[in-house]
């Protein structure tokens, strides 16, 4: 490159648009939790293939047997095989958790959007009610409804848990809807003639779905915990219907006979599933660019 050539004026040479490196969200993806969760859920759904014994059969000879070759996870005080009980029971716990969340989310979406769009006084009233509903201890409410409905089965329990779990999601949806409603692209869309359903479909729904996902996932978790607690206390599913909760309700007697496996094994499954759900939920909530601390 001669000096003369170096100094010739070449003007603007638009630099090649370097493709901006896509910030991959894979970095923080909770692989372990997702794999574990799917494994547990799949095994529960395919319980029939895995079950070695009939979970409901009361094998009176060998009750309270420690885990051995035949009974992989041992048997409980009524002689039922825990291994097959885990998969069969798991399916019920998960279905209740799922149904309850579907019900809770549905009520929350309706309640939240109405409250978000309603005039100030109605919105205030609905939020006061939601707050009071939220501050009543959840279990007492469920317990109260449960006692009234009498004997529980999978469906009634899901409805009861669902009906008492909607308040927190509703509050989040209401704040989001209120925020989106006043944002400028909704004002612009309304100026252009966008009617209520156009705005709801194109602008409101897609925007508040993402931020509600975290709450929905957490609701599945709370529903499963509520179900197992109720069944443990003898208020949820009766003994004959096997779920992780009802299996643990035999733990009282197990404590006397110091048979640890009746308590530990169902418990570990329950805690692992809940842990995976929480990790997935937290991953969804992590805002993409958290500003660094100024401290």
């Amino acid at each position: 490159m001669t000096e003369e050539k170096l100094f010739t004026m070449v003007g603007i040479r638009p630099e090649s648009a370097t493709p901006e490196k896509k910030v991959s969200r894979r970095k923080g993806f909770p692989w372990v939790s997702v794999v574990l969760m799917t494994a547990i859920v799949l095994c529960c759904l395919a319980a029939e293939l895995l079950m070695t014994k009939d979970p409901g059969y009361l094998d009176l000879e060998n009750f309270n047997v420690a885990p051995n070759g035949e009974f992989l996870f041992g048997t409980d005080t009524l002689g039922r095989d825990i291994f097959s009980g885990i998969w069969y029971g798991g399916r019920i716990s998960i279905t209740i958790g799922f149904f309850a969340t579907v019900i809770a989310t549905f009520i929350a979406v309706v309640y939240g959007s109405v409250s978000g769009i309603a005039p100030a006084w109605l919105d205030n009233l609905m939020m006061r009610f939601a707050e009071i509903f939220l501050s009543v201890p959840g279990l007492l409410l469920v317990l109260f409804l449960q006692a009234i409905l009498g004997q529980a089965n999978v469906l009634t329990l899901s409805i009861v848990i669902g009906v008492t779990g909607w308040a927190s999601i509703a509050k989040i949806i209401r704040t989001e809807v209120r925020q989106i409603r006043s944002s400028e692209y909704v004002v612009a869309s309304r100026c252009m003639g966008g009617r209520f359903f156009h705005v709801l479909g194109k602008h409101l729904a897609p925007n508040f779905v993402s931020c509600v996902m975290f709450m929905v996932v957490m609701n599945v978790r709370t529903a499963i915990v509520t179900e197992s607690t109720l069944s443990f206390m003898g208020m949820g599913l009766p003994l004959e219907i096997i779920s992780w909760g009802s299996m643990l309700s035999l733990a009282e007697k197990a404590l006397l006979t110091d048979s640890w496996w009746i308590i530990i094994i169902p418990g570990t499954f329950l805690v692992t599933l809940l842990m995976c759900i929480t990790n997935v939920g937290n991953y969804m909530r992590k805002a993409a660019n958290r500003k660094g601390s100024n401290l």
Binding site: E20, S183, E184, Y185, V187, A188, S189, R190, C191, M192, G193, G194, H198, K202, H203, P206, N207
Partner: protein, 299 residues
């Protein structure tokens, strides 16, 4: 059709706070806009200029006064419903903060095509995508941006997409609510050139709302100055900047810093005494097209 595109008559709007406190955001404002004109509305924050813009776009229902657009009073709901289609397509608005004026969940193509899809108009250039592409190239962006999301664009590009969306319906009136306030100087110039280009080529008149007075001086034909909800002075740009009449306009113009060190150093700015500002008084025409808010007696 009369030459006046927009005629705002004694517009007033109040915001209710709690049961008793009421804030008079816009107080008895009247002005007209001719077709093909760029009318600047300036004032500091809290002066009510954005509220006027939103009343004109029917976002707020004003407490009092009339707004005639092509002879139709947009505030009267019956008239509005009769001409709804025309009103909604021929008036468009663009906002200051480009991040919140575009839906983050929609691609650029859908954003630009939204007005057309709302009104189910058959796009003249074949598909909605082709139409969006044409509008995008008009505002100086190539079609590779069609499938991008607003978060992937810079501030200037987002504002261009907002303008493309507004222009896709060939509007007669474009209300620009501080379109360049949050952009850098060099990008501001690009957007201002684009707006001037739209005005000249499309003949669409622009209501330009800003607090950057040097930009208004460059772009607008006539300027209105607002203070605390009152319109204090309206005049052709040259006349206003040459000899401002109202004390507030004088203070405002003297406060603009000029990029010239020597001139700037020995220039002291005039202070405006808020207490002396009296809200009553009518618009007196002291020169052709130059109106000032003044008490009747003091001529």
């Amino acid at each position: 059709m009369s030459e006046i595109l927009l005629d705002v008559q004694r517009l007033s709007h109040v915001f209710k706070l709690g049961k008793y406190a009421v804030i008079k955001a816009v107080d008895d404002v009247s002005f007209q806009m001719k077709k093909g004109e760029i009318f600047g509305l300036v004032g500091e924050s809290g002066s009510g200029k954005s509220t006027v813009a939103r009343c004109i776009m029917n976002v707020y229902k004003p407490a009092a006064g009339k707004i005639l657009y092509n002879g139709i009073d947009v505030c009267d709901s019956r008239a509005f419903r009769k001409h709804r289609k025309m009103l909604e397509s021929s008036r468009q608005i663009i906002f200051q903060d480009s991040t919140s004026s575009l839906n983050q969940r929609m691609t650029v193509e859908k954003i630009i095509a939204e007005p057309m899809s709302i009104h189910h108009i058959k796009p003249p250039r074949g598909s909605l995508r082709a139409e969006a592409e044409f509008q995008l190239s008009y505002v100086g962006m190539d079609s590779s941006y069609l499938d991008k999301y607003p978060t992937e664009l810079s501030g200037g590009q987002r504002q261009r997409v907002a303008i493309a969306r507004a222009l896709s319906m060939e509007p007669e009136l474009l209300v620009a609510d501080e379109p360049v306030a949050s952009l850098d100087v060099s990008i501001q110039a690009q957007i201002i050139n684009l707006l001037r280009h739209c005005n000249e080529q499309h003949g669409c008149s622009i209501l330009f709302i800003a607090h950057d007075l040097s930009m208004v001086e460059y772009l607008c034909n006539r300027v209105g100055v607002m203070y605390h909800g009152k319109l204090v002075e309206v005049a052709p740009t040259a006349a206003l900047y040459a000899n401002p009449q109202h004390p507030y306009t004088k203070a405002l113009l003297s406060a603009i810093p000029v990029p010239d060190p020597i001139a700037e150093r020995n220039r002291s700015h005039i202070d405006f005494d808020e207490t002396a500002f009296d809200r009553e008084g009518t618009m007196v025409e002291i020169a052709p097209g130059h109106w000032v808010l003044r008490k009747e007696d003091s001529q």
